[in-house]
Symmetry: C2
Subunit: 589 residues, 2 copies
Amino acid sequence: MYRSHTCGELRMEHAGQEVSLSGWMFRNRDFGGMTFIDIRDRYGLTQLVFNMDDDADLCAAARKLGREYVIQIVGSVRERSNKNPNIPTGDIEIEVKSLTILNESKIPPFTIEDETDGGDDLRMTYRYLDLRRSPVQKNIIFRSKLAIETRKYLDAQDFIEVETPFLIKSTPEGARDFVVPSRMNEGQFYALPQSPQTFKQLLMVSGFDKYFQIVKCFRDEDLRADRQPEFTQIDCEMSYVHQEDILNTFEGLTKHLFKTTLDIDLPDFPRMTYDDALRLYGSDKPDTRFGMQFVELNPLVENSGFVVFDKSELVVGVCAPGAASWTRKQLDALTKWVQRPQIGAKGLVYVKCNEDGTFKSTVDKFFDQEALQNWANAFDAKPGDLILILAGETDKTRKQLNEVRLHVGNELGLRKKGEFKPLWVLDFPLLEWDEDSNRFHAMHHPFTSPKKEDIPRMLNGDHETMKSLRADAYDLVINGVEIGGGSIRIHDRDLQSRNFDLLGFTKEEAEDQFGFLMGAFEYGAPPHGGIAFGFDRLCSVLNGIESIRDFIAFPKNNQGRDMMIDAPAYIDDGQLKELSLEVTAKKEA
Amino acid sequence: MYRSHTCGELRMEHAGQEVSLSGWMFRNRDFGGMTFIDIRDRYGLTQLVFNMDDDADLCAAARKLGREYVIQIVGSVRERSNKNPNIPTGDIEIEVKSLTILNESKIPPFTIEDETDGGDDLRMTYRYLDLRRSPVQKNIIFRSKLAIETRKYLDAQDFIEVETPFLIKSTPEGARDFVVPSRMNEGQFYALPQSPQTFKQLLMVSGFDKYFQIVKCFRDEDLRADRQPEFTQIDCEMSYVHQEDILNTFEGLTKHLFKTTLDIDLPDFPRMTYDDALRLYGSDKPDTRFGMQFVELNPLVENSGFVVFDKSELVVGVCAPGAASWTRKQLDALTKWVQRPQIGAKGLVYVKCNEDGTFKSTVDKFFDQEALQNWANAFDAKPGDLILILAGETDKTRKQLNEVRLHVGNELGLRKKGEFKPLWVLDFPLLEWDEDSNRFHAMHHPFTSPKKEDIPRMLNGDHETMKSLRADAYDLVINGVEIGGGSIRIHDRDLQSRNFDLLGFTKEEAEDQFGFLMGAFEYGAPPHGGIAFGFDRLCSVLNGIESIRDFIAFPKNNQGRDMMIDAPAYIDDGQLKELSLEVTAKKEA
């Protein structure tokens, strides 16, 4: 070992001991006769002292040390005269007797400090230096801890971690697969898994009963901000369970993770149906850290002569507490904000609930004070509140008002960091009709079971009936972020086959792609269901950070590139030939 | 829940309780008035009783249950009159009150028993049924337990598990990569990692200090028996360590795994140099469960007139204890065995050490009893032993004699199942000369450090000097199987660059492929080293089983195919077009 202790370990009790430390030169302060150096490693910082009077050569050598030099020292621990209560080693310092430079360092392209001066691209190119910064290191260490606690909990509950294969088969359903050409099977390809879905179901057929895996998954999608082509799931499946059992098990896991990583005791998670979530929040992943639930005004605004309301399928609003004091400028900005193409509302109606009990609205021409009072009652609005109303086609208007609610929630500081509000959203539709492709899509995935009571209607119903089918599908939402989702699965061949029919598969396609699964259902498949958590997302939500990239050691950028290793890259012709492939794109210079 | 208890849980203390169980119909025995059914799940078996007198309909329904039907029952626990001491639930049975068939099963294509009648291909095609067999399930559960104990140990030692990327860059060095075409970066490819080697070294540069990961790795090699294109490693790296620190840490891990999974306390692991391993066993992974070390006879056989020995670089043998009684037929068979092309020896000389103190050899014409007595002394052979001797070129002959030693060890029952002999093999050469390509290859990998004292010779030496360089590289061998290997790494840019030169990289190639790593070495790279264990192999060695496939839930066959899901497969032209690819091979019908 190049050290007897780490740089975060020494305390007053070590005073008088001779120790060796190794680490990075973090700070160098020269006070004429004395030189102080902070040496740093993953565990902390320790102050080193060099004294001109004791050893001028050694002190001179110390002064020459550059930032990020890797050094090893031997010295004795002593009490500091000038203690630093902000760091755990702040009571002591090391009187250095010998110094070895283990490696030098060029001047880093950005500062290795908590707040760095490096831009995003530069930090990604030198990610190994970015990862040396304490906040980034803490995130990665947090992730490791979260994985350990996940495994601890699930192991204690008799879950078995089973590794499923990475080289599997491409299926056109769902997102785009990454594929892997097979050299030994010319012209054929493996695909990287988008999730271990079918394998975990097969493990239930095999009798593994409780499965989990913390596993990489892959999706070749156009990368929106904060999507990664490779991401990590906590993937779980259980046999002989109903929805209730799964919710309880994974609510337990989530509570355990909050307790062990943040020391937060979460109360039991509220539940809400998908329909209610859309009605009350315009979203299937509502941020319930704050109220501002939707109130539908249609009965109160009928036949007012205000044509915008009269012709709208839905008139719906939220009440922003204490926002009546917003200026005309603020309200105009908000109106412009909702009219941006990203939101797409035509306009915004607002009602100020004045402190004197009167109301001032943008629709005073059409609604008198009594009418506005009725609205205020519907919202339970208090003097000083601001009512914001949108109108239009139901689905679109709800989506727009969801954006307004979140935006205003931010403005009012209602989405508090450090506060956590989990919510189970239940009873998702089984199928959703897609106008573009003129067919049904699975809302969750094609293996999701309809609710038991809906099965007869699914087997015999007409088109409209299909739209009304509900699934035993559920999402876990925290602070408006979907961190997990799952369902009870189909375990009956005929029902699975019917579902593939509804999703537009021909019998041949279904057999070709999922024949092995339907076959498995014929040999004693138990009832089963499961859930998958987005592990990267879970890390970021627990830390109140938006970007998942902060919790991935070596993330890719929005073009799917690893800027550090410069991948993807061209491969040589020999490799292509072995794979029986030709590239049709022209090589860029 | 479809059950109140599992099928392995009920004991006498539950007698009188009403319980519900769910599981698979395992055995059905009909005794006229009574029907006994064993219901099975992952946890065990429980006996169910149906009585014609109590409920004729229920009993009739039970009789009709087929093998592997999934059933749910409700009933009451009672003491068995006829106890079965072989199973944990053998004291009780369930008097069934209601029976629900949760799913039916066709007759499985092979029996779901500990010993099955299914052939390899059939079991792989229906792997989900094969995995339902208890011994296979136990293997997969063992693997899960081994992973948990690995993480427990390393976590307690402050190791951080960090996920490294799967979509990386192809490097022509080493084995063949699986590549992944990038859609967003036309004509470019990612590669799947053969190991996270460079990433874990970068994590050391980042200051993570102690890293591990249980991680899938990929190699597109022609699959010999028991190789898999995807396999799992316990991958580890530490900073500020010497070889000794790594050996101690991972000897500790290995002891922990043996203790917690097999309840075996391993004594401290012996160590042997690479040179000694080759000299004494003809292999860098000797099976040290038994002796039969090589004895070199050259000084004893000089100028005998026996031309085979006289012209041989090496005359070397082993002494097989108690094998003097082998018949002429057995010895002829052994001689033929060594002459097979797989072994390739020209012939085999043997000396029987008779019980009366005389010797009978195949070379009595050239060597008298006194000479043979000298040989016997060199082998420390006792009356009743058999000395087996090969001669020829040193490397080849050692390899051949290694095969002989292992083969005879098997014949004599010296390679005992349940006995474990770990061994550290140390001081591997840094480079090996490859006659075919007329260049050096890295014995371990290009990032391995030469021993400190060899660095000056490496920087300045000639060709012959390079062959003599030793590395801080080590393998952990158990029972003749290499289960782990690693090295102290280079952390200096110039030394790394010199190594790439020696390995035949041009400056441009080295920069193009590993520029990021050499760049990282310029910004304060600490001394570091690590090790990787073959996790699949570790599972199989701990269980005394040869095949790693028995410990992989969904393995591939020797053609790299997953027979269950039938992958790899052709993908459609649209997918190829999006990837800017054309397949040059003809599609098979």
